[in-house]
């Protein structure tokens, strides 16, 4: 007997008939009827009208029937919330059944009925099931907490389910632990606010690592994914976790392997890159990655997309394994294309011959997309490996001889790139290219060919004829071709002005008068005006030397790459996009995952420098408080707010690259835009410690703290000498003071007060000086500061006037606030906003500074600045110079954009600043000086 017969009834009055059968006295008929109902439901018929009748069958002693009714309930309860209540009693009863299978079934199903009214009734049975004696029930109940949280988060928090869930992490049964971990990860991901109670600490990690050895393969994945969200406190802990995870690389389940690789890749970041352990790990990671290529094609695809990221992050991994990526004839097309991409990434001088032979083979296959990509890959090889360029070009010429239309077009597109990389080297082939002019019908190929003709117009005798031939159908061409044709003819004219005047006039009039395309018109007018006013200038502009194109194409931007590494094995790693670009926004702050910074157990940078006090101006005692009236900073940015602990609002998703104006585009050169991101601080930003995603812990990096300097001399302070400095710790500002009693009598009753100042600094708690200060003794005090006080502009801006009172007298002094401690953690601007802001600020506001004698390379600079809340948003390399684009924000919300130019071998850096409030520039400059010279 088979079930297929249930699908066949399709008579008139079917619902009516079913209702009759459902209410039948005979159990068999009843069961058959429910099966028919489920069959109808499966094929998409609406059988919700039978709700009460089906519910009536719920109280049954037949397990199969019960399961079917439950299935029905899950589907239709939402559309019949009032009647769904009828089912509650049976659920509650089933939750107390003697058979654990029934108890689990009931609690599992109840969680799937997403009706608010029912959730109330669910709480009590769920509480019992979480403490059930049978692990099968407990593991089901653990998941049910996540279900309930999804429906009514408040209820779960109020009823203490989170605590119970956390307790399950210590359950004796590994399956229960695994499901509890899965539920917790889920809840943390959806919760709009941080849930500190679920925070995973090193103790829990230990338990999870123990359970890892005993739970099912799926449970291992849940646990590994949870561990990947945890950041160990130092490299030693990172290494010990890694040691316990590496055996998982031998698991037969690919998901276990990939999740292990994710954790290991993340933890490797924290270790000393030159250590033997790292090189051992690198060796260990290659074989399992290769084995994934023997898995099912879909898994191969996921693996290949991830390998693409992994080899960009760590080029050591798989560097000798080019051959495993050779394409097989029967690979699915999506696997072929990904393999090709990775082959190019691994290409180097040593293996180029093999790669080229393969690519040539692929170019003769039948699949058009694959062939095209193979041809393009040959071009990429030429650009990447200079020694092979000649061979690549001749391979491309061979392919052009095949006359296969799409091969020829693709070849011409890549040859244009080769010309740009190696100017004046291969023009001899231009004649061959020109032979194929007529067959080109794709815009990109036509535009490329036209570019080549224009660029080498002086060497192509009939360049004018060739270009003229394109001009006839100018109106019908694609905009890309039109623009290119316009430029090419202008180039031709500048090179051979005598016989091409007519041609250039023709194209200019076509572009400016007959076109609706504003880009084309604008470009036409610019050329026109240039040519008519100053042909020499036109030459300089149009025939200017072009920057060489870079070797590596399609590289993922480093910050995005780091983020994607944290998402290995997930959709983000397949899409190569950050999760917030495709997962819909939820109530909470989307927290970006970042790789942990390297934190050795003793990192010298972190240690506070004590010797050699920096040359900062000596503090002076001020005459009186009355003469200090300035005006508020002239900034239209609203009142300063307390920045700490506050999350910046979630940013709108940024627009794709092509929205950029051309001018802006050139500002940042070829840097590709991130497709998402937010302006949360990156690693080390304490404001994100409270963030949800970092619930598994985070190591805040403290900013540089200068040595204490003398603020109040004993003479001025009637025996009280004060040394002090400013520090930023865990996102809040502190004034650290050392009091020396150089008088003969004991001092008590210390108090401190600030004058109004530019940044609204105010002690946020009273000064705590622990004991009466005996003569010749000294004591340290740390005063937490807030920035919500009254604001008054000071000159210089960072001047702070302080009054300290004790039982003897009141002493006044002034000091300079170290500029960099005023920078807040949320200073990182989203890239798109950075560009917009940069454009908005008038160029008169731009100012340049020079920072001399810096002994660090760009990487170290980025890290140092980052530790001190200067975020690097983009980095690019222009003709050997590193350009860093950075943003920072003062506690009064004043934002400053910066461009830092670093030339290799030159210890003088150029700093350009842009802000709406140029007054702060000296402070920014001071910050950079301090950080780069001392931190």
């Amino acid at each position: 007997m088979t079930d297929s017969k249930y699908f066949t009834t399709n008579k008139k009055g079917e619902i009516f008939e079913l209702r009759g059968e459902l209410n039948s006295d005979k159990k068999d008929r009843k069961r058959e009827a429910v099966k028919k109902v489920i069959a109808s439901m499966t094929v998409g018929k609406d059988v919700s009208a039978l709700f009460p009748d089906v519910i009536n069958c719920m109280q049954t002693d037949n397990l199969e029937l019960k399961k079917l009714v439950y299935l029905y309930l899950m589907n239709y309860a939402k559309s019949q919330p009032d009647m769904a209540i009828m089912a509650v009693n049976t659920f509650v009863k089933d939750c107390e059944d003697s058979n654990p299978l029934i108890r689990a079934l009931a609690v599992r199903t109840m969680g799937c009925i997403r009706v608010d009214k029912i959730t109330e009734y669910l709480c009590e049975p769920l509480q019992k099931c979480l403490k059930d004696e049978d692990p099968y029930v407990r593991k089901t109940a653990a998941v049910c907490v996540a279900k309930l949280y999804d429906i009514n988060a408040q209820l779960v928090e109020d009823r203490g389910f989170l605590d119970m869930l956390r307790d399950l992490l210590s359950d004796s049964n590994p399956m229960v632990v695994a499901n509890a971990v899965a539920a917790i990860s889920e809840i943390l991901e959806t919760s709009p606010t941080p849930l500190n109670m679920l925070e995973v600490n090193s103790q829990i990690i230990n338990k999870l690592l123990t359970a890892l050895n005993e739970c099912t393969e799926w449970g291992q994945v849940f646990i590994l994914d949870a561990i990947s969200n945890y950041t160990p406190k130092d490299d030693r802990e990172a290494q010990s976790i890694t040691e316990r995870i590496t055996p998982r690389l031998a698991h037969a389940n690919s998901a276990v392997v990939l999740s292990s690789i994710k954790v290991i890749m993340k933890l490797m970041e924290m270790m000393d890159p030159s250590s033997d352990y790292i090189s051992m790990l690198v060796k260990k990671l290659s074989p399992p990655l290769i084995t994934l290529l023997s898995a099912e094609p879909e898994i191969q695809y996921v693996a290949l997309r991830n390998i693409n990221l992994i080899v960009q992050k760590r080029s050591d991994i798989l560097k000798h394994e080019m051959k495993v990526f050779f394409v097989k004839y029967n690979d699915p097309i999506y696997v072929k294309l990904e393999k090709l991409d990775i082959m190019i990434r691994l290409t180097n001088q040593a293996n180029i011959a093999q790669v080229l032979a393969e690519l040539k083979e692929y170019a003769t296959e039948v699949d058009v997309d694959f062939v095209r990509k193979s041809v393009r890959a040959i071009g990429r090889c030429a650009i990447k490996v200079e020694q092979a360029a000649e061979r690549c070009v001749s391979t491309l010429l061979d392919l052009i001889q095949t006359k296969v239309n799409y091969v020829v077009q693709e070849a011409i597109v890549v040859i244009k790139d080769i010309f740009r990389k190696y100017p004046n080297k291969y023009e001899s082939i231009i004649a061959t290219l020109c032979e194929n002019l007529d067959t080109l019908d794709e815009p990109e190929a036509r535009a490329s060919m036209i570019w080549i003709i224009g660029e080498y117009a002086e060497r192509i005798d009939n360049a004018d004829e060739l270009l003229e031939s394109f001009l006839d159908g100018f109106q019908d061409e694609n905009a890309q071709v039109q623009l290119q044709l316009l430029t090419a003819i202008v180039k031709l004219f500048l090179k051979r002005p005598t016989d091409t005047q007519e041609l250039v006039q023709q194209v200019l009039s076509l572009a400016t008068q007959d076109s609706d395309n504003p880009d084309l018109r604008d470009r036409g007018y610019i050329y026109w005006r240039l040519l008519s006013t100053d042909p020499a200038a036109a030459k300089e502009v149009v025939l200017a030397e072009k920057p060489l194109i870079s070797e590596e194409t399609d590289l993922i931007e480093p910050t995005l790459l780091d983020e994607l590494i944290c998402h290995i094995s997930s959709l983000a790693s397949v899409y190569h996009k950050p999760p917030n670009s495709f997962v819909e926004g939820r109530g909470g702050v989307p927290v970006r995952k970042v790789l942990p910074p390297r934190t050795g157990s003793t990192t010298p940078e972190d240690a506070v420098q004590t010797e050699a006090a920096p040359q900062l101006p000596q503090a002076t005692v001020i005459p009186g408080a009355d003469s200090l009236i300035g005006d508020l900073l002239d900034m239209d940015l609203g009142p300063p707010t307390q920045a700490y602990g506050q999350h910046p609002p979630p940013m709108a998703q940024s627009a794709p690259v092509d929205l950029l104006g051309e001018g802006l585009d050139s500002l940042l050169g070829g840097i590709s835009m991130p497709t998402g991101g937010n302006d949360m601080g990156v690693a080390g930003a304490p404001s994100s410690v409270a963030g949800l995603g970092d619930i598994f812990g985070f190591n805040p990096v403290n900013s540089y703290v200068p040595a204490q300097e003398i603020w109040l001399s004993a003479a001025a302070g009637k025996g009280l000498e004060i040394h002090g400095n400013f520090a930023r710790r865990n996102g809040s500002l502190h004034m650290d003071l050392t009091f020396h009693n150089k008088a003969m009598s004991t001092m008590t009753n210390f108090a401190i007060q600030f004058n109004k100042n530019s940044f609204g600094l105010l002690p946020s708690s009273p000064l705590q000086v622990p004991m009466p200060l005996l003569p010749n003794q000294s004591v340290n005090a740390s005063l937490p500061l807030s920035t919500t006080g009254p604001v008054q502009r000071m000159e210089p801006l960072n001047l702070l006037q302080v009054a300290v009172k004790n039982n003897i007298d009141i002493a006044y002094f002034s000091c300079n606030i170290a500029a960099h401690v005023l920078l807040t953690e949320d200073g990182e601007m989203e890239r798109k906003r950075f560009l917009e802001t940069w454009k908005e600020i008038p160029s008169v506001n731009e100012k340049q500074y020079e920072i001399t004698d810096v002994q660090h390379n760009a990487e170290t600079v980025v890290q140092k600045l980052k530790n001190n809340n200067i975020a690097t948003i983009a980095k690019r390399n222009v003709e050997g110079q590193d350009m860093l684009y950075q943003s920072l924000k003062f506690s009064n919300q004043v934002q400053v954009l910066a461009e830092l130019k670093i030339q290799p071998g030159n210890s003088t850096f150029t700093l350009s600043l842009k802000s709406k409030a140029p007054d702060v520039y000296p402070m920014v400059y001071e910050s950079y000086q301090t950080i780069l010279h001392h931190a």
């Binding site: 399961k67 299978l101 097309i333």
Partner: protein, 422 residues
């Protein structure tokens, strides 16, 4: 973190089974699936993951069926794919073939299984042997209803207690598949051995097994570096094997599942001589005929023999009038595969055979471009492993103290064995 819903669709994209796990995506979203698959195929960008708004379809195809999972989150895709493939495995073990008919015939039990293998998008128990203990085709009365087997939540989740056999036996098959890729000019581009240790275990109780191989790493660490040993490049184990134990001292120790399963697989890159070497000369005389001369050479020891050797050579789609001449075996034309298949039942080592084929070609030239498909070879060589791997011992310890017999077989066969034509 995982799937919102799972669907099984027929070849036309009609829903046969659907199970909503999270209720956060409208189930009718699946109506967009097939059109999307078609579009992507047309654009030549087909991939097993399709983004549709903020929803992602993750799917596999199996015997003309689609298994589709939907998600709205940044799901662990490797997990989802592995899970879908595991579902296919579980269903196949329940109903032999997974196809349209068997799904319709068993839809009630499929729903029961879907309820058990995943909860709220998290995969749970997917071991079909354990599932069969409490989800069966027969209806149950509640009083005698099955209880969840201990194994579902045990540390040993793959074996139930109380198994009994009159005769305790273990069969071990070591199967090595050779993957080979040879370029048109006759140079070996890639050669790789993928080995599998498959077991059939008929043992009572909860036996502890320990398998000893001539593993190079183990031999070197125990000072037997000179004995003949094999360097395994990457090893993957069934979930029953204690991974940390292997990591520590390379011991393969485990409590096996009952019946048939794959204990481990391994991979090694070695440059062995291709076992069966094929050379081809193809002469194409446009508009009239095409001639093939295929030479096959066995490059293994004379005392071994390859069985059921099949050499598959692609011929043009418009070829006709096949004529074959062989020095051994027989050859037939398989128009459905656009290929000819040369079969040699028994191919001893150190031999060389020849085959000539002649096809007619129409005078009108075929417009469609045809790819140069490589030559595929299938074969099986018993009592032989290319890598030289050997089972040194299989220790079986059970507290009742019975004696059990292990039987070991070795086979080498073709894997992905391709030789490109020049």
């Amino acid at each position: 973190m995982s799937a919102s819903a799972v669907y099984i669709l027929d070849v036309k994209g009609k829903v046969m089974i659907c199970r909503n796990y999270r209720g956060n995506i409208d189930m009718s979203i699946i109506d967009n699936f097939m059109p999307l698959v078609m579009d992507k195929e047309e654009e030549g960008v087909s991939a097993p993951i399709i983004q549709y708004g903020n929803i992602t379809f993750i799917y596999i195809k199996c015997n003309n069926l689609y298994l589709v999972a939907t998600t709205k989150k940044n799901a662990n895709v490797a997990l989802v794919f592995q899970f879908l493939h595991r579902c296919v495995q579980v269903f196949s073990e329940y109903f032999k073939e997974l196809e349209e008919e068997s799904i319709r015939d068993n839809f009630v039990i499929i729903y029961e299984l879907l309820d058990e293998v995943m909860d709220f998008g998290f995969p749970q128990t997917t071991d079909s042997k354990i599932l069969q203990e409490y989800i069966t085709q027969e209806g149950h009365k509640l009083e005698v209803a099955p209880r969840p087997p201990m194994a579902v939540t045990n540390a040993v989740s793959w074996r139930s207690e109380g198994i009994k056999y009159r005769k305790n036996e273990v069969f071990l098959d070591i199967i090595e598949s050779v993957n080979l890729l040879v370029s048109g000019s006759g140079s070996v581009l890639r050669s790789e051995i993928v080995g599998a240790v498959k077991m059939r275990v008929y043992l009572s109780g909860m036996p502890e097994l320990r398998l000893g191989l001539n593993d190079k790493v183990l031999f070197e660490s125990t000072g037997r570096g000179k004995s003949k040993s094999v360097e395994l490049e990457d090893v993957k184990f069934n979930q029953c094997v204690r991974l940390s134990r292997f990591e520590n001292d390379r011991t393969i120790s485990f409590i096996p599942p009952d019946g048939e399963f794959e204990l481990m697989s391994y991979r090694l890159n070695t440059h062995v001589k291709p076992l069966i070497w094929v050379e081809s000369v193809i002469e194409r005389h446009a508009h009239s005929r095409i001639e093939f001369m295929i030479k096959a050479k066995s490059q293994f020891k004379r005392r071994s023999t390859a069985n059921n050797v099949e050499i598959v050579v692609t011929v043009p789609t418009d070829a006709d009038c096949p004529k074959f001449k062989t020095t051994a075996g027989s050859c037939r034309y398989a128009p459905d595969q656009n290929a000819m298949i040369w079969t040699i039942k028994s191919f001893p080592g150190g031999k060389e055979y020849l085959m000539r084929a002649h096809f007619g070609l129409p005078s009108v030239v075929n417009e469609d471009l045809e790819g140069k498909a490589p030559i595929h070879v299938r074969f099986e060589i018993p009592y032989f492993t290319v890598s030289g791997i050997q089972v040194r011992y299989l220790k079986i310890i059970e507290k009742s103290g019975y004696q059990a017999l292990p039987w070991v077989r070795y086979i080498t066969q073709n894997g992905d064995y391709q030789l490109r034509t020049g």
